[in-house]
Amino acid sequence: MIRESYLNAALLAGLLAVPLYALVVDEPFTITLATRAAILALAAVGLNIALGWGGLVSFGHAAFFGIGGYSMGILAFHAQNFVPLDLGIMVFDGTKSMPIIWLVAVLASALAALLIGLLSLRTSGVYFIMITLAFAQMFYYFAISWARYGGEDGIPIYVRNDFPGLNTLVPIQFFGICFVALLLALWLNARLVASPFGLALNAARQVPVRVQTVGLDPTRLKLVAFVMSGAITGLAGALFADLNRFVSPSMFSWHLSGELIVLIILGGVGRLMGPVLGAVMFVALEHWLGGLTTHWHIALGAILLGVVLFARGGLIGLLCGPRGQT
């Protein structure tokens, strides 16, 4: 068994080393792949808080990913086209500033997660899966019919948004932004897990009745976790849109919700770095196998099957043993 902290450090070092190496040998596309992996990992770190610690199998996290994406798309759209955004109470020029976009993305997806969570947490099990899926699909169809913001075609953003002091069009600089965002989210996740809230949430997943018996409300704990989870996935959505300089309804698609679940299961549910390992594997498979055959999802499915059957704790569980030791 490998100490989990060593594996975690090695994974992050690897995710940092690949684009740096690509920079040296001048392969910008590899940097873009690493950026994609970092962003998907960030989105899945968000989902893992709800899924891995709260036990909430959300099949609708694309809703928050898309809300983050559209937050970026809408703000940048108004700024680049010089069309003020009339909010009724005030008129806003839009913005190309990443920090402002992120703030909006995080707040909007947190609010959506609060509303979706309030309604969805009345159910559990399969019903919870289905109701979260239904909410994400509502956003999907709404985006398709939202003609003002490109409908089905989405919104192209001509130039990547700005970050003070950086040239975000340089791939390695944009990677740096995404990597730091991922590190911060992981740090937050680690603190959360070790906190009083984390302990209570973890127990609420395992034995809700015990949590009630000590005077706490498991549903409220899960709701708060769901909101944090949605906010982080929303931030990832804003970064993803900036990576592609393009936002479309596909960000709300159930495929994305499913992929986030899959890569957490691959890496390890409720393991800090499960999403990172899963995302790196996912992007690598997508790139290499996807280059060989368009049916690469079959291989992914086979690997997923293997993990579910033979390594219930995901690859991290296989390498480091079961979760939950102080």
Binding site: A200, R210, G215, D217, G324, Q325, T326
Partner: protein, 249 residues
């Protein structure tokens, strides 16, 4: 106002045509152990669930410290001072023993909304949690995964979590279940001392334990309380002997 810590008034609960609780009025007074005995399926656990909040009675009331709590949730009743243990251990099996008692200590502190500081660094919570482990004799096991505990140790941990709450009353559903002679004897001694801290409503199958501990015994048969009295009264009660102890009157 009464000095009853727990009181039920005419609690009735049916599952379909089965009356699991039939007009049950019992109470728990300061300083006592009130045992509830009865054959399997008599409705003991059902009664406990209604007192603690997992199950709403069809009719009747539950009072804690004289206050009607029938409409309150399990969590709200726990905050009002109910310390409950389960017939089947309800513990976070993936967590360490210490983490399970820390959960209790945190619940008692009423401050779970802290997201940043490490719970292990919270001295007052840790002291409270470890004091409870010390009392039930699980201190050496505190860093063990709960799923690795023996059955008897899990029963002890159940009691320890209830201790962290420093409740006004304990409600215990068959704490001796599956303990074996030695374990039952130890726990009997422990509960004997515990009544000074808070009264205990004790559902128990182990008759030696009940007769050794109880100040009062209520006998529940087919959802009805057929008798309440001292150990001697119950031992000699003809109805009880017939209905429960299975003897000819």
């Amino acid at each position: 106002m009464t000095d009853n810590i727990i009181e039920t008034r005419g609690i009735t609960k049916s599952f379909g045509s089965l009356k699991a609780s039939d007009d049950i009025s019992i109470d728990l007074r300061a300083g006592e152990i009130h045992a509830i005995i009865g054959p399997n399926g008599a409705g003991k656990s059902t009664l406990i669930h209604q007192i603690c909040g997992g199950l709403a009675p069809d009719a009747g009331q539950v009072l804690l410290g004289g206050q009607d709590v029938t409409a309150l949730t399990t969590a709200a009743r726990a905050r009002k001072g109910l310390g409950r243990t389960f017939q089947i251990s309800a513990l976070a099996m993936e967590d360490s023993v210490l983490e399970n008692v820390l959960l209790g200590a945190m619940g008692a502190s009423g401050r779970p909304w802290r997201f940043w500081q490490a719970i292990m660094g919270d001295r007052s919570l840790r002291e409270r949690a470890e004091a409870a482990l010390e009392r039930v004799g699980l201190m050496d096991q505190r860093h063990i995964r709960t799923s690795a505990l023996s059955h008897g140790q899990r029963r002890q941990l159940e009691v320890a979590v209830a201790l962290t709450l420093d409740p006004r009353a304990f409600v215990m559903d068959e704490p001796m279940a599956g303990l074996g002679a030695e374990g039952s004897k130890n726990l009997t001694g422990f509960l004997d001392g515990l009544r000074a801290q808070a009264p205990i409503l004790l559902v128990e199958h182990d008759m030696d334990a009940v007769f050794a501990l109880a100040d009062r015994i209520s006998v529940l048969v087919y959802g009805r309380i057929i008798a309440t009295g001292s150990v001697d009264e119950i031992r000699t009660n003809a109805d009880v002997r017939e209905a429960y102890l299975g003897e000819e009157a």
